[in-house]
C-alpha cells in the first residue's frame, strides 16, 4: 500500500504534518496515520488563542479502535480550529491533508521548521 506524502509539507516522526509557508501554518495528521488509526470518530483540539509547543501534545484523535495524542510540529498561537471535525471527524480519513486539517498556528519563531522531516525523509520512515 502506498501513502500520500505531499512534498509541500513538513512532518513529524509521530505522523503530524504542517504547511511551511505563510504567516500561519496548518497542522494535521498524515495519510499513513489516518490509515493506521482507522475510522476516526473524535478529535479534541485546543481553542483559538491557546498556545502550542513543538514536540508537545496539543490534542487527541480517537478512532473506533485507538486513542492517539496529537503532537505539534511548531510552537505558536492557535489562530483557527477546524470545527467541521467535531461533527464530521471522518474528514480526517477522507482528506487528511485537505478538509481534515486540525489547527492553524501562527509560529512564534521563524526557524520553527528546521528540525522537521521533509516529505522524502518522512516517506523513508513509513516505508
Amino acid at each position: 500500500m502506498s501513502f500520500d506524502v505531499p512534498a509541500d509539507r513538513r512532518y513529524l516522526e509521530s505522523h503530524e504534518w504542517t504547511t511551511a509557508d505563510g504567516e500561519t501554518v496548518r497542522i494535521g495528521i498524515t495519510d499513513f496515520a489516518q490509515d493506521e488509526l482507522g475510522d476516526v470518530v473524535f478529535v479534541e483540539l485546543p481553542a483559538a488563542g491557546d498556545e502550542v509547543t513543538n514536540d508537545e501534545e496539543f490534542g487527541v484523535v480517537e478512532s473506533i479502535k485507538a486513542v492517539s495524542d496529537l503532537v505539534s510540529p511548531v510552537s505558536g498561537t492557535v489562530t483557527a480550529v477546524n470545527e467541521a471535525l467535531f461533527d464530521a471527524p471522518e474528514l480526517v480519513n477522507e482528506d487528511p491533508y485537505g478538509e481534515g486539517w486540525m489547527i492553524e498556528v501562527e509560529p512564534s519563531s521563524e526557524d520553527a521548521f528546521d528540525d522537521l522531516l521533509s516529505a522524502d525523509e518522512y516517506r523513508d520512515q513509513i516505508e
Partner: protein, 362 residues
Amino acid sequence: MGLRKPPLHTIHADRDASFTEFGGWEMPVEFDSIRTEHAAVRESAGLFDVSHMGEIRVSGPDAATLLGRLTTNDLSEIDPGETQYACITDEAGIILDDTMIFRLPDEGDPVYLFVPNAGHDAEMYTRWIEYRDEWGLDATVHNATEEWAMLALQGPDAPDLAAEATDGATRDIDRFDTAFLDVAGVRSFASRTGYTGEDGFEFLVPWDEAETVWSAFDCQPCGLGARDTLRLEMGFLLSGQDFDPEDEPRTPYEAGVGWTVDLDTEFVGRDALEAVEREGVDQRFRGVVLQQRGVPRHGYEVVDADGEHLGHLTSGTMSPTLGEPIGLGYLSEQAPPGTRVRVMVRGEPKQANVVTPPFIDK
C-alpha cells in the same frame, strides 16, 4: 512464544488485512474499515475468521456429569443438536470464562463440544482433565482447537448465503440449533449462533479445508474490530475484558448473566453463587450512553454528579450503528438504569445515561 495463526492467515494477508494479537493468536482486526464491516453485518452479511476460539470435545459415559459440574447452566436441558450458553466458574463463583456448549447429534452416550475463548483452550482442557481424575469419572476430553477452523457468517442475508453454499441444508437449522452438513463440499458443523446480534451461522470446518469454506461465501470479510463493535452494541460480554479472574473478577450475577446459573444443579462455584444470589451484589454490568462528545474506553471511571465513585467501564466505543458513544461496565446499585452519571474521559467528566443493554433493538 510465537503467536498461533489461523489457517487462513496467508489468505487474509493477501487480502491486505491488518492483524492484531488476541489471546495469543495473530488475527485479522480489519479488512477494509470497521465502519464498513460493521455496516455490512447489520445491513447484509459479513464473514469472520474466529479460529482463535477453542474447541474441546467431551465424550464417554460420564461426559454430561463432567461438563455439567464445570459449567453453571443445567446441561440436562439440551438435546442432541442443541446449544447452551454457560459460565465456567471457580469455587468462589468467579467467572473464569464463558462458553457456548454444543451437544452433538449423537446416538448413545452424549457428546459435547464446548468453545472456550481465545487462549483459554489449554487451561480449560487441563481443568477438565484434573476434575475428571479427581472425581473418578469416565470421560474423554480432547482439545480440538487446532483441528477446527471457526468461521462466522452473520447478518440478515446470512441465511440465504448459507443456504446457497450448503444446498439448502442450513434451512433446517433453527436458531441456537446445530447440524453436520457439507459447505461447498466440505463436511462441517454448523450452529445457528453468533456474537453480533444478527441471524447467522458459526461453522466449524476442518483446519486444512478452511479456505474452501471461506471462499464459498460472497460477502464482506470482517475482522475482530467490527466483531467488537457489534458485540458491544448488544452488550455481550468479552472474556478477559468485561470479566477476568485476575483483573476483573466477577460473578455471573454481577456480569448480568445470572440467567446462566442454575442453582438446582451441582457445579464448581454453586455454593458461593447461592450466597451471592441470596445476599445480592454491590455492582452490576450496565450500559452507558455519553451525552457529550468523547469515546468511553476500558478502565474509565464513572462518578455521580458530586464526583463520588460509582464504578468503571470495561468496554466502550463509538457505536457505528447509533453514532453515539457507548460503554459497558460495572456500576453501583445506586446507579440503576435511568440515572445520570459522569464518565471521566482523560480527567474530564462527561455526562452519560445509564441504560440496560442492548443499545440497539434486535
